[in-house]
């Protein structure tokens, strides 16, 4: 049987066994609606609130400042649209490399009359805090910058950006989906008013996430119904999912620091191994300020999807930097913003390592990559090698 190696942890992760175990009672006997006042409801409420406390403790914030949602995308939408709706008009500052959950939300708000500044990034994908300072206007109502980029792993200087934003008294939203539970997030020290985080990137279940909302932040609800989540997000809470998220956070609290060091070493073993064997490879992203397990490798003159397919046939799961939909290939908006030349950007492959990744896995991937790229280049009319 072909060896199976999963290097797509930035897309999703397997649910941790302790998380499954914690969730099971809430898929079984503890099925009550947490809004119900009877015992069945209160059992579910207890599970919900325990998870909320765990997350609040992990982020060192207040329990009432955590709002549960259905996913990172909803958290980003709630933060950006919620602040915009509370203000009614104004200007938003964001970056060109945000996740589409933020970018397309901002574009939608532009069509509704809001003004948006999309900040550039440098060749490593970093936003310059001085650019944020210069972009802020008297009518700026929100600054939203991601903590780490999912494609290249670059970690943004959110502490410095947060200082700039706080000086001006503007709400600061951070999309922390790729960093929450992977590297420390200093909510207070970074002046964060809203922080999106997700469950399935940290070995929790899919379909559940959260938004930290600093007390006093003006944010309107964007979906309406009952009184759930202190009227900030209507809809019966996904209790088993939230319990799972709470457990996942507890486990990350134990494992995060050691795991980050281990993954950084494995990530560097991967990039060095590939670079030693394959000519014309570049690492996209910041050399040092980068997520522990993320390696975005650009193979010149090869189309990334053909590498992904080649590796898939060897049992290795990675993701392509360029997305082909119905015969249209768009190079990644992140790599374009970083100024990566097209002949490199089209061959970008993201490897994201996780808990289960071993040194043997990494060595196997290095072995697999070389002949795949060599064969593709041999058949390519654009490659010189």
């Amino acid at each position: 049987m072909t060896r199976r190696v999963y290097l797509d942890h930035n897309a999703s992760t397997p649910v941790h066994p302790e998380v499954i175990e914690a969730m099971l009672p809430y898929l079984g006997e503890r099925y009550g609606n947490p809004s119900s006042i009877h015992a069945f409801g209160q059992e579910a409420r207890d599970g919900l609130e325990t998870a909320r406390e765990r997350i609040a403790r992990f982020l060192r914030v207040g329990k009432d400042e955590i709002v549960f949602t259905s996913g990172g995308t909803e958290s980003d939408n709630l933060a950006v649209k919620g602040v915009a709706a509370a203000r009614g008009s104004g200007h938003i500052v964001t970056s060109r490399i945000e996740h589409h959950a933020v970018l397309r939300t901002c574009q939608t708000l532009e069509r509704q009359g809001f003004a948006v500044t999309y900040l550039p990034v440098d060749e490593h994908g970093l936003v310059d805090p001085d650019d944020v300072r210069r972009a802020i206007r008297p009518d700026t109502i929100l600054v939203t910058v991601m903590h780490a980029n999912s494609e290249v792993g670059t970690i943004e200087p959110i502490e410095e950006i947060g200082r700039v934003v706080r000086e001006r008294g503007i709400p600061f939203h951070v999309d922390g989906v790729q960093t929450f539970g992977k590297v420390p997030v200093d909510v207070e020290g970074s002046g964060i008013d809203l922080l999106s985080f997700s469950s399935h990137k940290i070995y929790g279940p899919k379909g559940v996430a959260g938004l930290y909302v600093r007390k006093g932040t003006k944010m309107a609800a964007i979906q309406h119904g009952g009184e759930h989540e202190r009227r900030r997000r209507a809809g019966t809470e996904n209790v088993p999912g939230i319990v799972g998220l709470g457990k996942a956070v507890e486990v990350r609290g134990r494992e995060m620091t050691a795991e980050a060091a281990r993954l950084t070493a494995l990530r560097d073993r991967l990039t060095e191994g590939v670079r030693a064997r394959v000519p014309e490879v570049r690492v996209n992203g910041h050399p040092a300020r980068r997520l522990p397990g993320t390696a975005n490798l650009g193979f010149r003159h090869v189309e990334s999807e053909s590498i992904v397919l080649g590796l898939d046939l060897k049992g290795v799961a990675v993701s392509a930097g360029s997305a082909c939909t119905s015969g249209n290939v768009e190079p990644s908006h992140v790599l374009v913003a970083m100024g990566v030349p097209l002949d490199w950007a089209m061959g970008a492959v993201r490897c994201s390592l996780g808990r289960s990744t071993t040194a043997e896995d990494v060595d196997y991937v290095i072995e697999c990559v070389e002949p795949i790229v060599r064969k593709l280049r041999a058949a390519s009319p654009v490659a010189a090698v």
């Binding site: 189309e303 082909c324 058949a379 390519s380 009319p381």
Partner: protein, 123 residues
């Protein structure tokens, strides 16, 4: 699996891949939507494509389509290849998903261009 066994086989073991020195004809096609590129080379003997080679840049299905197309073209009369239909290439691959139909288009167009190149100089 998203792709047929025939497609996967051609992708894994592309037939006739690589440059042909001093070909009798060449033809190229690029799919503007995604930049996929196929180039075909023909060695022609007695009006037939005695040897066919290709180079291609693109996604897995395009590479597989080029391999399948090279097999389809080998031994055929060059004049016939001027009318090679994209459906024949897709059929040889055991079908293509709806969002990868362009793979057969770009390969069939490149083979037709190579055939036209030879015919324009020899007929």
């Amino acid at each position: 699996m998203r792709y047929s066994p025939a497609l996967i086989d051609h992708f894994r073991n592309p037939r006739n891949a690589g440059l042909m020195p001093s070909p009798d004809a060449t033809g190229e096609s690029e799919y503007a939507g995604c930049g996929d590129l196929a180039r075909f080379y023909l060695r022609v003997r007695a009006g037939r494509a005695a040897d066919v080679r290709f180079q291609t840049y693109g996604c897995g299905p395009t590479i597989a389509a080029a391999s399948a197309g090279s097999e389809l073209a080998t031994g055929r009369r060059v004049k016939e290849l001027m009318g090679l239909d994209r459906d024949a290439v897709e059929e040889a691959l055991g079908g293509l998903p709806p969002d990868r139909k362009h793979a057969a288009d770009v390969v069939a167009a490149a083979i037709r261009a190579a055939a036209r190149d030879w015919v324009s100089r020899h007929v």
